[in-house]
Symmetry: D2
Subunit: 367 residues, 4 copies
Amino acid sequence: MTDVDPELAKLYKEFDANGLIPLWTEREDLMPATPRPAAIPHRWRWTDLYALAQRAGELVPVGRGGERRAISLANPGLPGLPHATPTLWAAIQYLGPREVAPVHRHAQNAFRFVLEGEGVWTIVDGDPVSMRRGDLLLTPGWAWHGHHNTTDRPMAWLDGLDIPLSSALNTEFFEFGPDTLEDRSQPARSRNERLWGGPGLRPLSATSSPSKSPLAAYRWEFTDSALTAQLELEDEGYAGVAGPGHAAVRFTNPANGDDALPTIRTEMHRLREGASVPAARESASSVWQVFEGSGAFVLDGQRVEVGHGDLVTVPSWAEVAVEADTRLDLFRFSDAPVMERLGFYLTDATNPAARIAPATPVNPARP
Amino acid sequence: MTDVDPELAKLYKEFDANGLIPLWTEREDLMPATPRPAAIPHRWRWTDLYALAQRAGELVPVGRGGERRAISLANPGLPGLPHATPTLWAAIQYLGPREVAPVHRHAQNAFRFVLEGEGVWTIVDGDPVSMRRGDLLLTPGWAWHGHHNTTDRPMAWLDGLDIPLSSALNTEFFEFGPDTLEDRSQPARSRNERLWGGPGLRPLSATSSPSKSPLAAYRWEFTDSALTAQLELEDEGYAGVAGPGHAAVRFTNPANGDDALPTIRTEMHRLREGASVPAARESASSVWQVFEGSGAFVLDGQRVEVGHGDLVTVPSWAEVAVEADTRLDLFRFSDAPVMERLGFYLTDATNPAARIAPATPVNPARP
Amino acid sequence: MTDVDPELAKLYKEFDANGLIPLWTEREDLMPATPRPAAIPHRWRWTDLYALAQRAGELVPVGRGGERRAISLANPGLPGLPHATPTLWAAIQYLGPREVAPVHRHAQNAFRFVLEGEGVWTIVDGDPVSMRRGDLLLTPGWAWHGHHNTTDRPMAWLDGLDIPLSSALNTEFFEFGPDTLEDRSQPARSRNERLWGGPGLRPLSATSSPSKSPLAAYRWEFTDSALTAQLELEDEGYAGVAGPGHAAVRFTNPANGDDALPTIRTEMHRLREGASVPAARESASSVWQVFEGSGAFVLDGQRVEVGHGDLVTVPSWAEVAVEADTRLDLFRFSDAPVMERLGFYLTDATNPAARIAPATPVNPARP
Amino acid sequence: MTDVDPELAKLYKEFDANGLIPLWTEREDLMPATPRPAAIPHRWRWTDLYALAQRAGELVPVGRGGERRAISLANPGLPGLPHATPTLWAAIQYLGPREVAPVHRHAQNAFRFVLEGEGVWTIVDGDPVSMRRGDLLLTPGWAWHGHHNTTDRPMAWLDGLDIPLSSALNTEFFEFGPDTLEDRSQPARSRNERLWGGPGLRPLSATSSPSKSPLAAYRWEFTDSALTAQLELEDEGYAGVAGPGHAAVRFTNPANGDDALPTIRTEMHRLREGASVPAARESASSVWQVFEGSGAFVLDGQRVEVGHGDLVTVPSWAEVAVEADTRLDLFRFSDAPVMERLGFYLTDATNPAARIAPATPVNPARP
């Protein structure tokens, strides 16, 4: 800006010297017509991730301090930050044969989703939980947890946490536990599953309802069966699917029906071959992983092919559609519960007007 | 009262003529120190009930108008009323070979608990639900329902409803449906189970949370497995049982974790041989049925033997203890959710003082 | 019934001997198409009530045991019971010059509404609360309370409680307090008002939200002002009234916005001269008192004149309309929160079909 | 790091090329033992702010595009960002004689707190709301609003919004309204106050409970009176104050008792001369403004003097104490409701252990 009033320039300098910033030069950036996330839609190939994780397995030990051999998706729109979206952290975690990840706990909420393999047990508050293909395993905030691989083969899986949200809100707490795991037992079913894993059954000994799910394992056999049932019901002419050819379930806290974690929504989707999820926007960000099959995401109009294990980030208000080339099973997690709890959740279906960018965004000149 | 002031006697007559009743002569009855239910603790023998139901099966047809061949427990403390407790209705329902109970719906909430047998399907809002030993089946208020027996053997089960509560509150609504059942299919698993029967899994198509359970069948295999697990956890030294040697689960609405029905709590209990439920009082009434095994109820100090199928009513604030002679499986339903929702729930543990009757209840003389 | 099968007659006798009642002979009474309350719509004249209360003031002392000089409305449809409706108790309470009603507490929820007069203080959990014309004063369940008249004139008011509900549910608890009141101070504003009486203001010291209102006094000046404002807004063309010419407010718990008492809804209504409340039914019962003005209630089609202080009971599903001959101020209390919390609340507007009685209610003959 | 394994260095480069970041080099930064906000405790002097705002008033017009003459507090720990804390935006807004700030709406929640002056009306969803000394005025998310100064004197006040939170979550929506205000009426009491401003009174016409306060103005007379009452109650020996010599109220939504805005807690505090708020930490950030009086904040051990209008930011987990040299009235707003709704709220009182930094935070070397 060449012709700035020298008085105004002086004023702006004094603003700066006094720890002040004028709204009128920033208004449109601070308050855009619709969300303008810095994060971008992006796809990571599982084969790339896995190969790099494998090499890390050879070069980097797992142990106290670093805590986990986890490699985070770093959204290209958020340079230098290990954030998949502004609120969600996603990583491939790799544990070599017989390796142990030491015990710790943190305020951040965490889950693991198992793309393939088995033989690792995660010990959640002292309760050994087996990790197997297709399972969703929870580590709610402040639960102690460590992992150990009981086999001679490495195992890798998806880790999801609300680390970026917790960082943005400055609500991090962390504590180290014992360096070694005492309980190396390998039960097929964890104690939390034995107590809370019956459909609609609540132990009478639970006198209050935990705000975070007391069920730490959502097994693939149940998820698969629920998705299969929805598509069969569709074939039979009954309600149940989320959309045509599209079955989907949400993982919930059996004690209160809320999302399994208070800050992260977790879902499993299944599309029939040829089916699709129509284009939509929501004021929430999400990460998808292909569990099985192949197809494409259409992200703000750009088609991106995906196959087994591939990960896709969808920032807030990005338009996303999904197309299934084969039968396509997709795991998804998002920050929608955050938006719902704060009154910020909106979709272009509930407010089509919000979809349209305003005609004349005008910010006064900055000197 | 011989020497009543004639002025007072005249006043009381005028009260009566004007539709008025003085509090001071009624105060203690209206507001006793602790509940004084007219209903009494009572036991009904299943063998008696079944024999009478069988005879009713021969003499009384099932059909439009009477609607159901159900024989209600009539608490001896509530003469002339078919009420098990002041809020709960309990009955044995008997359906002969190939019989059909016609379709209707009502505001009252209902369930069936199956002591023995199989082969009947109940059609809940058009969804055929099989009834088998140990199952709990729901018919939430205003859901259409009819039953049909697909076999050549009769079948009998326990019906539980909130009829007395609904009568006391004058909230009854009832509507006849078709006289015949169109859908005579016999699926092992009902559609509601296929949609809502996965542990912690919620169909994405459910955009709001029903206040009454969308799951209409709680199968014995899951209940049994949950009770078994609690006792095994106790053996292993872990938390989970409701008390020593006492496993128990509550049946809940998977959409929100509340009681399966808004007015009726339903539970299954298992006592090890020799175990007991210690004596306690609560400001809620309940009905128990022995599912398997034998033992005794101690009701306000009176010991009553119970065996297979026997039913016991426990009014509000009656003291109840249970003793298991063999392994003892017990189904229980109560009106505790009503008390909790209205702020009236109290136990002698939460308020021991309330247990003690006041020293000098004095009501002024009534003329 | 003359030709009853002797086998059937024998069966019915055995039912009776075994504490059993068949459903099929009772079905229609137990489960009518729409509520059939025994309670009836009825009007009590305040002048009659007051005159009788006055005479009771001369003949009956207030003291320990009887506790209160309260004269209950006894619904003519519920003979022998001091119940205004099946769930609500309503009475005129009369306290002579300098009299004291002793301290007690009970699980039942209570309020007082002051038609006229002043000079009595009710001490709620040790907090003296003045009672003045138009005020609503609360005594939530289990709060200690006693009253004393500080003047040389008698005072009478409306007492409302959930005694019949509590009796029906067997949830009564009662405890005597000291026979005399120690704190005879007469503050214009009680401590609870000073803490909770600011609009939208919550003391930071309240770390949890009481389920019963912590505000014990709703003063007429605020109620009057709110009603006036609604009608002025209507004149100005803005939203706010409950209906044309009909202003109305609900008294709520400032800590959570719920009804002031968990089992009793309390409201104040104002109709302009000539305005009316259109005919409607709801599955809830209520009691109205005329505070000021005159008009009529149309109860199931019957027109009943009302004036200052008159009380009207409206059972569940009775059709009620109100017509204002002059400006008409009405206090109303009902059991609607009970119905809402239990899932039983329905109006003929939300379910017009329920209004229609079924064509052919047919109960099989009773022997 | 000089001796990094070349293989490892190569791996890290490939991570970078693939949009990946290893956790083990970042773990401690991402998951510190306790929050390590970049934002710092800081004080702004009102006299400085006001002088600069005044000069802006001379140099910068208010109008469409820039929308408001608001000057944001820019936390020195968050360079370049107009954020008071990571979630809260705070500004002095200045409106010259007869000026108009045009109508717009946004998803972000907003309030104004008036330090001094009067004569401006803010039009909230078409409802003119006067702004006077000590008042808190709300503009909940998506409510239309514009302001106009009806006097010949300028007026300045504090604006608070959740802009940084909304930016972090990418949930911004914004829409321009008309450029001019049609309704220039100047009622002393707005329509929302007339409908919702009675203590515990809810208009019957409100059939559901808005999640954002329907009351847009919390008047100083009520706030002042509530604070005065708490200190008087303390003098009289009764409960009510937040701490010794420390009165405090929270501004709440009268429809449900929640915080007035879903993302921002607003409070008014009063300390007696010589009283103090003891040192404490919480996992929430806040901004304080001195309304009247003088004293000091002790921020992580550093004493900072404050007087009329001065503003202080307190990041998450900073230790803050307040000392009153004179009677000290303080307005405060914070993001505590966000933390509570997401399960992240913690204080050093509820978890003293979290106060202690862990002994050996060890991050493996980054190449």
